[in-house]
């Protein structure tokens, strides 16, 4: 499938800001399940943009605006083609005990994705985590059971939480948004010795052909989880939508948790009084065959 994604972040300052500096992680990945057809980044006021690849392989763009400005707008427009990629069934058929053994032998390669991280503390909620990943379970089933459990036991409630809400609070309230579910799922996975990482991206919320409004996460950045499969692939799982990641997900950045992938992180000098707005639009485009 082909999509055109536009991701705009706008800041409006009550008092003119100066010395703005920001790093962006809004450049979609190129991998087996997607490729970039074209892409442009626009910044107003105009600024020279530089670029590097970070520790997790994400493309990072950054810029400075030293002079005074009242507003800052960053728009990333990308056309992406996605492909349905089936996970290797052989890996999913292994039992949990076996995959644990494999992961144990790869602790160095998988270190970051088994350790606690800033938003993902481990070894809390012993009772919850003990429910999952019994030694004899099939790995694939155990993973599906986990994301379905989150989907069924947590209510998606936009605005109920923000990025500073700790997992413990989400567990207590039983509601949250996609990044909370992703962090929670990471905590349960890592506590069980399953290597997993955080993914930021976009999702096509409504299928234009069936007009199924059930997919949540509309018109905003989305977040989900990838787990490591023996054999060397990462498999995307979306607990917010109770499904494995498919053609309608567009992957942007990966990391230990939200901190490693924040789409825009910046500073400016000026009054703290700012309004900011994020607009993401995503539309399916015609396949040119």
């Amino acid at each position: 499938m082909r999509f055109r994604v536009s991701h705009t972040t706008e800041y409006k300052y009550a008092v003119p800001a100066s010395e703005s500096f920001a790093e962006l992680r809004v450049w979609p990945q190129t991998n087996a399940s997607q490729r970039i057809l074209n892409r442009r980044l626009d910044i107003t006021p105009a600024a020279k943009v530089d670029h590097y690849v970070d520790y997790f392989g994400n493309h990072v763009e950054f810029f400075t605006i030293p002079h005074r400005h009242n507003a800052l707008t960053v728009t990333s427009q990308t056309e992406v083609e996605t492909f349905a990629v089936e996970p290797p069934t052989a890996a999913l058929d292994l039992c949990v005990g076996e995959v644990r053994q494999i992961f144990n032998s790869m602790r160095y390669q998988l270190f970051e994705f088994l350790e606690p991280s800033y938003h993902v503390p481990l070894n809390q909620h012993r009772r919850i985590r003990k429910q999952f990943f019994k030694q004899a379970d099939s790995y694939g089933d155990a993973l599906r059971t986990l994301y379905t459990w989150i989907y069924e036991n947590f209510k998606y409630q936009s605005g109920a939480t923000d990025i500073s809400t700790p997992i413990a609070e989400v567990v207590r309230q039983r509601h949250g948004v996609c990044q909370d579910f992703a962090h929670l799922m990471l905590a349960i996975l890592r506590s069980n010795g399953i290597p997993a990482r955080y993914v930021s991206g976009y999702i096509e919320a409504y299928d234009p052909e069936t007009t199924d409004p059930a997919l949540i996460g509309a018109a905003a950045s989305h977040a989900w989880v990838e787990v490591y499969l023996p054999g060397g692939t990462w498999w995307g799982l979306d607990p917010t939508n109770n499904q494995a990641v498919g053609e309608r997900h567009i992957e942007v950045a990966v990391g230990r948790d939200y901190r490693d992938v924040a789409p825009m992180r910046g500073t400016y000098k000026g009054a703290t009084d700012q309004r900011f707005n994020v607009i993401v639009s995503l539309e399916r485009t015609k396949q040119n065959t």
């Binding site: 100066s18 010395e19 500096f21 920001a22 790093e23 020279k48 530089d50 590097y52 690849v53 970070d54 520790y55 997790f56 950054f62 400075t64 030293p66 602790r107 160095y108 270190f111 970051e112 350790e115 800033y118 901190r259 924040a262 992180r265 910046g266 500073t267 000098k269």
Partner: protein, 854 residues
């Protein structure tokens, strides 16, 4: 008595030290070993009284220096954690050769480790060391991976702590390769000991240490291809020992100190904000932890840092020493694998071994540690803020509190079995006792690595101190290396000609400006109270008191006490008011508060303040703190005012004589003149309308006008100028227009203009000319001021039956408004100064209540 002294002389001063056994200093027969023989001889030739006296002089010298880094000076002695012992550590040529080759080997191996961990991680892939030690290190910052560091030299300047396990078996206790601390102590220890005890150095050729800072500077210069690179020392700016050292090193190297807020990144280049705009920076000597450098590259809620710095560095547009991330080399868990690391990267066997170290993430080692708890020292993997953030707490000052954190977060801790250090004589209370210590040795890498021939010994204390940048110690020792082993190495780069000079940063300029203003304010208030107190307020009749009340009100108003100006009558007892305006630390503009603001402003730019100035200010602070605790009386306050006036004059005299009269100095002067002008107008604004109201020409001698002149510090000037009794318009002319009277607004503005004129700002930012125009405009306003129309130069006659003063024609209200308007115009200069020279700065000293003159 004489007889007793003679007996004492025959007693060996070392009797309490060696007790007959062999030691690092004496052999089994009791004769001094070669490196110590000259020291032992000199000391044995001194009488006990002489030794005591030398130690006292050492203590005194150190204490004087300690003043420089003591925090708020409640008492001098308790704030100083630095002591210096008169018996040095002396190394033989062979020992030093061993140590210095071992130090270089180790520095190179651990540098290679840092480079590897931030790139391929081969040492982990090949399982030479357990991967979790490296990957769990809080100093390992993943965002710094994949950045090319020139020559792979992460730590170009570093240090190691060594311990002599006996017979010159030196072992490494700790790496200090990230931000080595203590160089200033090395230099100062040598300077002080050789001054206090020159005889020690007479018979031995000790390698000099004074060149250390030059080597460091040359290394920093070599980081940039430019002929005259702009080098800065980046500090966190926190007052304390670390800042003392930074100021000291920066002064020795002649480079400036910057905090991250002084810098700006623009299109991946780093600039310093200066009074002349933005100046590009080429080399940063970093004294800030890597994780606090750039809040965008390494998200850390607790610090500001410089956004974009890491990207500028990544692009090779600025050199940073030591490279960000270098702290991974200090990971104590690696000490256990020192030999493997040296073998892996250097393919050599280790020259210096590390002390036995256990890391608690390993089950077996943890078990061993818990069984041998008594013999081991617990330490965190890193003395790194990030580690305590992960643990969620810092240990309190007890072993139990540390042990509790260790139980919860064992992965982040190590235990060391540190051998009892070889003992050296330590002089205390008249005799030598035996005390072990740790030797810190410094290296500088580059084409030809240098190990600085000397160092310092920290005498042993129990337990581990977790504050990284402190030298908490039970005394330091100088370290001697024979000069013969030091090969003369050519400078790494020929000294460049003096290039363009670099501007002072806006923050430095602003701090000096505010210091000038606060000190002038304090001086004004003290002098004005002194004048008022000399009028003997308490002995006045009530009516008389009412006559003087406007003057007291004026002073109070100038000090920001606007409530007082609304009172029609004086309070029965003005003593509490006086006390609060002089001594109340919480009263925003009291003399004491002003001194404290000035001191805080200057503390932040200690590198540009002469030690002499600092000493005077310290005296003043201590004096005021002590006075504030004593019961007040009128006499005491009068004495305090007089003392403050003379002390502040001493400060200005000292500053004038000891500080370079450069741009920094000019901003101090700008502050003084601006404040003096504003202060004079604040008094005039309140006093004049009341004076006009009460003014009767028929008065024989208008007493309160004389007092006003005295208050304004220009009674003599008035008499010299007019040779008449005081008239309102003449006072106004004098105060507003006189060219040579230091209290006059004209004088202040012209000097301010002059000070700004010396800054030689030019080019695209010729903003100063606009400022100069503004000042000239103000001088014209002064000349045209309605109340002061008698031209100064025409007053050449003796006073006799002249015309009635014009001021009589004006209402009090008119006078009040005229002065208020004038004051406002002069105060507006501040905004211009700020816009032109300081903008973007976050200033501590800007205290809104102080300058809110209503």
């Amino acid at each position: 008595m004489r007889k007793l002294d003679e007996v004492r002389l025959k007693v060996d001063p070392f009797r309490g030290f060696h007790g007959g056994g062999a030691s690092a200093v004496f052999d089994a027969e009791g004769s001094a070993r070669a490196p110590y023989a000259p020291i032992v001889d000199v000391i044995r030739s001194c009488s006990p009284g002489d030794l005591n006296q030398r130690q006292q002089r050492l203590d005194f010298a150190v204490e004087e220096l300690g003043l420089q880094f003591s925090d708020v000076s409640s008492s001098r002695s308790s704030a100083n954690p630095w002591g210096l012992d008169l018996f040095p550590l002396s190394l033989s040529a062979e020992e030093w050769q061993l140590i210095s080759t071992g130090v270089v080997q180790r520095a190179l191996a651990f540098n290679a480790y840092a480079q590897d961990v931030y790139s391929q991680q081969n040492i982990l892939r090949q399982r030479v060391i357990p991967h979790d030690l490296a990957l769990r290190d809080p100093a390992f910052l993943r965002p710094l991976s994949g950045i090319e560091v020139p020559e792979g030299e992460y730590s170009q300047f570093g240090a190691f702590d060594l311990v002599d396990a006996g017979e010159g078996d030196w072992r490494v206790v700790e790496n200090h390769m990230g931000t080595p601390f203590g160089l200033s102590h090395v230099l100062q220890n040598r300077r002080i000991l050789s001054q206090v005890f020159p005889e020690l150095y007479e018979r031995v050729d000790v390698a000099p240490v004074a060149g250390f800072s030059t080597y460091l500077l040359e290394m920093l210069r070599a980081q940039s291809a430019r002929a005259n690179p702009h080098i800065l020392l980046l500090t966190s700016g926190q007052p304390g020992q670390a800042y003392f050292e930074e100021a000291f090193i920066a002064r020795h190297m002649g480079i400036s100190i910057a905090q991250s807020s002084d810098l700006l990144v623009r299109e991946s280049r780093v600039f310093l904000k200066t009074i002349r705009g933005l100046e590009p920076v080429d080399v940063i000597y970093r004294r800030v932890e890597s994780s606090a450098l750039d809040p965008i590259a390494v998200p850390n809620a607790n610090v500001f840092g410089l956004p974009g710095l890491i990207n500028a560095w990544r692009q090779g547009n600025v050199a940073i020493v030591n490279a960000p991330g270098a702290g991974v080399t200090d990971n104590r868990a690696l000490l256990r694998y020192s030999d493997r690391i040296i073998g892996h990267y250097r393919n050599e066997s280790p020259i210096l071994r590390a002390v036995e170290t256990f890391h608690l993430s390993d089950v077996d080692q943890r078990e061993y540690v818990s069984e041998h708890r008594e013999d081991l020292v617990l330490k965190p993997m890193q003395d790194h803020d990030m580690l305590w953030q992960i643990c969620g707490e810092r240990p309190q000052n007890s072993a139990a509190s540390l042990a509790r954190i260790v139980r919860k977060h064992a992965d982040y801790f190590v235990a060391q079995s540190i051998p009892e250090p070889a003992k050296l004589p330590r002089f205390k209370e008249g005799e030598f006792s035996a005390r072990g210590g740790y030797l810190r040795v410094y290296y500088i890498l580059g084409k030809e690595p240098i190990v600085l021939p000397g160092g310092m010994v920290r005498q042993k204390v129990s337990g581990h101190r977790t504050r990284r940048l402190t030298i908490a110690t039970d005394g330091l020792k100088d370290v001697w290396v024979p000069d013969s082993v030091v090969q003369d190495s050519a400078p790494k780069r020929p000294p460049a000609q003096m290039g363009e000079r670099f501007s002072i940063s806006s923050r430095v300029a602003e701090s000096l400006y505010w210091a000038g203003r606060y000190l002038e304010r304090a001086e004004n208030t003290a002098r004005q109270f002194h004048t008022l107190e000399r009028l003997r307020w308490d002995q006045m009749a009530h009516a008389e008191q009412r006559t003087y009340w406007p003057l007291l009100q004026a002073v109070a108003a100038a000090t920001g006490q606007s409530d007082v100006t609304k009172r029609k009558r004086p309070p029965r007892d003005t003593l509490p008011l006086s006390k609060s305006l002089l001594l109340d630390a919480n009263e925003g503009a009291s003399v004491r508060a002003c001194i404290s603001y000035a001191r805080n402003s200057l503390e932040r730019v200690r590198e540009v303040i002469s030690p002499e100035c600092r000493e005077v200010l310290e005296d003043i602070t201590l004096y005021l703190n002590a006075e504030a605790k004593r019961p007040v009386s009128r006499a005491r306050l009068a004495e305090l005012c007089a003392h403050m006036v003379s002390e502040l004059a001493r400060f200005n005299g000292t500053a004038e004589r000891t500080m370079p009269h450069d741009d920094t100095w000019q901003f101090y002067r700008v502050g003084i003149f601006f404040e003096r002008a504003v202060g004079a107008l604040a008094v005039l604004k309140v006093a004049m309308p009341r004076v006009v109201e009460a003014y009767h020409e028929v008065d024989e001698e208008s007493a309160d006008l004389t007092a006003l002149l005295r208050l304004l510090g220009c009674l003599d000037a008035y008499r010299r100028e007019f040779r008449s009794r005081a008239y309102v318009d003449r006072i106004c002319s004098l105060m507003l227009q006189a060219k040579h009277v230091p209290s006059s607004v004209n004088f202040c503005l012209r000097n301010l203009d002059y000070a700004i004129g010396t800054l030689s700002y030019s080019g695209a930012r010729a903003l100063g000319s606009d400022l100069s125009d503004q000042i000239h405009g103000l001088l014209q306003v002064l000349a045209d001021f309605p109340l002061a129309q008698s031209p100064m130069d025409e007053v050449g006659w003796l006073d006799a039956g002249e015309l009635p003063p014009k001021s009589a024609q004006h209402s009090a209200e008119f006078v009040g408004e005229a002065f208020a308007g004038l004051a406002e115009q002069v105060e507006a200069l501040h905004e211009r100064l700020e816009d032109i020279f300081f903008s973007h700065q976050d200033v501590f000293a800007r205290e809104p209540t102080l300058f809110g003159l209503e």
